[in-house]
């Protein structure tokens, strides 16, 4: 309960205080509160683990009047993952985004934006109310856009604006859906919507909301804003954008399709979502193959990795939710979300280290850096293993669960995409690894503190551990899993 309040409010409070603090005090305060939030997230996860979902009715009013906040296993897991990523990013950023290195604007601007993003994330994870989710995801987008624009260069601004356009369009579509839903049912609480009297506008509402969220989740073909945005932002920001931001809008999709209106889900619609996901896996992989810059490769790999998430819809959604394999598929997708978050953050942080070391992330310039920065190279390789879905990483567990249920459901084409996507990932991640391992170091690398190098290594190791100890998160994710998925329709 209190932990829940902390994770929700502390980021916001810190964000505001940072604005007032003198430059010297900024980083220590942020790190301290980050540590607090990580602890709170852990406490919350423990509470959920032991006592089941934690609910908080704001102001003691139950819905529809009040706003309910609820931390189920999924939310707890995502909060935990986000807290770890945020903490790591903060640690890395204190080295990377020092004013003397990147200028005052970025050095100052990053911290409040990061904390704002964090608050928005946790809000989205916890909200049970469609309008709350709207506000949360909107704040999220604004913070994200601002982070993209942070460097202030022309293409960064252009990327930020393109991102903004997609994000706003998405929000508006979502908002339209919310309005329709409210018009039909007079409530926006997910729990109440689940037991609503079906109305004929529901289909349109869900369609609008879904399309809007797809734009924010950067599912093919609405991914086009993502690569320039993530590549243009400073590395720690990219880590947040790639690892966490899409997960929030994806979570809203899950809430809608599995909790609020599971009865609407029709096979054809589910199929379309998964098909787009499959295309994203291939398309993102193919485009990652032709990029010359490390950050672009990683960004396109995000496009591909997000595609896997959408296999959840036909496998666990709609009529599938009643089937034995639904649990596997649902958990698999969530494992993918978690492990991708950790691994992708690690990758962007390593990219940041390389940029800090040699001032570029072109593959040609990265040659031989494995020798000068062994820890970082190792971290990148570990993260790559997760993204390729090789055992014993979290990515493997995710792939395994998804593939198994795909076969069990008789929908083996998804399994084919999973396998092929893995090979594709190996192909596009091989290029940077090979460059790093190449013989001669091209450019003299500036020294990088070992503590900074250790940060991505820890994240990558966590993404591997997620697979080795997959039993615990697996059970955590089951807690408070959307009821329909267990009872069937």
């Amino acid at each position: 309960m209190s932990a829940l309040v902390v994770v929700l409010t502390l980021p916001l409070v810190t964000a505001l205080t940072v604005l007032l603090l003198p430059a010297r005090a900024r980083v220590p305060v942020v790190l301290a509160s980050s540590a607090l939030i990580v602890l709170a997230a852990g406490a919350l996860a423990l509470a959920v683990w032991h006592g089941g979902p934690v609910t908080l009715a704001v102001g003691g009013w139950a819905p529809p009047l009040g706003i309910a906040l609820r931390a189920d296993g999924l939310a707890a897991a995502l909060i935990m993952m986000s807290a770890l990523v945020m903490g790591a990013v903060a640690l890395a950023a204190q080295f990377e985004l020092t004013p003397d290195r990147v200028g005052a604007r970025m050095g100052f601007g990053f911290w409040p934006l990061m904390l704002l993003l964090w608050a928005a994330l946790n809000a989205v994870y916890l909200s049970r109310d469609l309008f709350n989710l709207y506000v949360g995801v909107e704040l999220l987008s604004l913070a994200a856009v601002a982070l993209v624009a942070l460097s202030g260069s022309a293409q960064a601004l252009a990327a930020a604006l393109r991102y903004m356009i997609f994000a706003l369009a998405g929000s508006l579509l979502y908002l339209a859906g919310v309005v329709l839903a409210y018009g039909a049912h007079g409530t926006l609480d997910i729990g109440l919507l689940a037991v609503r009297v079906p109305a004929h506008t529901d289909a349109l509402a869900l369609g609008l909301m879904t399309a809007g969220l797809l734009a924010k989740t950067a599912l093919f073909p609405f991914h086009v804003w993502l690569p320039p945005a993530h590549a243009g932002a400073p590395a720690p920001a990219s880590a947040l954008l790639s690892a966490l931001v899409p997960k929030a809008s994806f979570l809203i999709l899950i809430r809608l399709w599995f909790e609020a209106m599971p009865d609407l889900a029709s096979g054809a619609a589910l199929l379309v979502l998964a098909a787009l996901g499959a295309i994203a896996v291939i398309w993102g992989g193919v485009l990652a193959l032709v990029q010359k810059r490390l950050k672009l490769i990683v960004a396109y790999s995000t496009v591909a990795q997000l595609g896997y998430l959408f296999f959840i819809f036909p496998l666990a959604g709609g009529d599938g939710s009643a089937q034995p394999w639904a649990a596997g598929a649902w958990t698999g997708a969530m494992f993918q979300a978690l492990s991708h978050g950790l691994a992708k953050a690690a990758m962007f942080l390593t990219a940041g280290i390389y940029i800090a070391a040699i001032g570029s992330d072109r593959l040609g310039d990265l040659r031989g850096l494995a020798r000068t920065l062994p820890m970082t190279g190792f971290a990148f390789a570990l993260a790559a293993i997760t993204l390729m879905g090789l055992p014993p990483s979290g990515g493997f567990t995710a792939k395994y669960l998804l593939m198994t249920s795909a076969f069990a459901a008789g929908q083996w084409p998804w399994a084919l995409v999973l396998a092929g996507g893995g090979v594709l990932a190996a192909a596009y991640l091989y290029r940077p690894i090979a460059a790093l391992f190449a013989q001669r170091a091209q450019t003299a690398a500036r020294p990088i503190p070992r503590a900074w190098q250790a940060v991505p290594l820890v994240l990558a190791a966590l993404s591997i551990l997620l697979g080795l100890l997959s039993a615990i998160p697996f059970d955590l994710l089951q807690i408070g899993r959307p009821a329909p998925a267990q009872e069937g329709l």
């Binding site: 369609g207 399309a211 609407l264």
Partner: protein, 556 residues
Amino acid sequence: MTALYSGSLMPLAVLVWPLLLGLVPLVPRWREGALRVLPLAPLPALAFAAAGASGTTVLPDLLLGVHLAAVPGGALLLGMTALVWTVAGVHAALALKSGVQAGNFVGFWCLTLAGNLGVFLAGDVVTFYLAFAAVSLAAWFLVVHERTQKALAAGKLYITLAVLGEAALLIGLMIGAAAAEDLQITSVRAALPDAPLGQVGLAALIVGFGIKAGMVPLHLWLPVAHPAAPVPGSAVLSGAIVKAGLIGMVLFLPDGSGWGTMLIVAGLTGGFWAALWGVTQRNPKAVLAYSTVSQMGLMLMLAGAGSGGVAYYALHHGLAKAALFLCVGVMAAAATPRQRSATLVVAAAVALSVAGLPLTGGALAKLGGKDGLPAALALALTLSGVTTTLVLGWFLMRLDQHAAKPAAKPAGPHLWRGVFSGAALLAGLALALPWVLWAGATGLPAGYPVRGANVFAGLWPVLAGLCAVAVIKRWALPAQPPGDVLALFQGLRGWAAFPAWPGGQRLRHARSIRRPALRALLHAKAAEDHMRRWPRAGVMLIVAALVLAGLLGVAN
């Protein structure tokens, strides 16, 4: 864990002793005098044979379970082999240069000897195969010992045929063992004829043994290898080693099968044709090689006919042929005309014995072989005396003109006396030993060899042969290269040497598919930029919303 061994250790000792001596050259200090151990190597075998070659050793843990016991007629063959190797060893110790080369020679000499003795002692197919492999492959080093171009070329041919023979043998033995579900030679022999693939197996075995035994047309290696090998080497090759093939035939071929007849035909062909072809050779050792082919042909004929006298015949031939080969060395070492003529006398005596001059060991061997033989074959055996006389007569002529070989040490009376006495000893044994063993080996009455008919049957072919010799002494046949049929195979050389194929095919192929792939990737990049334009994306967004709504709507 069963007992390490059971039975008497004598047969094992026979094999292990030479192997131990073979290690002597590994000790640098002993390497210089290593050649001196050669005569000692066969002594246990000699003792074992003299004692009647009784006793078996079983070593369950070794290989796939080793059984050692003298094969039928083993005592004779073992004894002969041991004698030949001993005397040849003395010859080698005296005649060969010492040094590193000699060290190798000693090692492989002993290995070959062990294998040669092993084939007469093996009780199970694996041990037999091992012994056979040892005797045929290790002999490679004896052939190429002198490292001259000629020797190396001969070695190539020898090893090629030997390996082919090994492969064929392996097939045959495997089929047999699978059929018998047991590794004992006796049970394999019994199981082979009616096994599913029995005939294939037998054919493979005949090829394997035939190569070793110089069965026409698989005899190619003999006339090439013998001239190349050093004298003692050829002596053991022709005297003892070829008998390994013969004993294989005897051990594995079932009686009264079609293969027997085939063996008789091949044997007779070889018996006569090879002898005649030998007359076209110039090198005395090549001539002897062809005579060996012809004698082996006769023995194969006996084996095919299932005559009991094979071992007895082989005993004499082994001793005699070894003696003849040694004579070549003796002649090379001979300095004075007296020595040369003395050598010729010994050689002539042995030659006549081989030709079957009555009252010589050779005559007894023939009589022993004829015993119980169909009349036609017996006649053939008699007739072979003519050709044998012819070829060996020719050999004596060639030997007379034979010059000293460069490989030999500077000839000295001491050396000559040593090697001469060796050759003479073998010759004596060849002439006399059959008498000693007559009763025991053939079971015929002691007076049988001196009966008029037998004497006549032995005498006239020799006389006829001598006339023929007189003829070719006047009109010598045109010389032919050794290895007759080999000429045919020269053409196949080019094929046999695989030309290195163009390696990078796969790469070039890959490059050809890589270009379109790259183009496709670039297209994808262009499409991406295209999609990035906002208005299109916006339209797609709205379309997506409506499509989803539609899909959801129609379902509900």
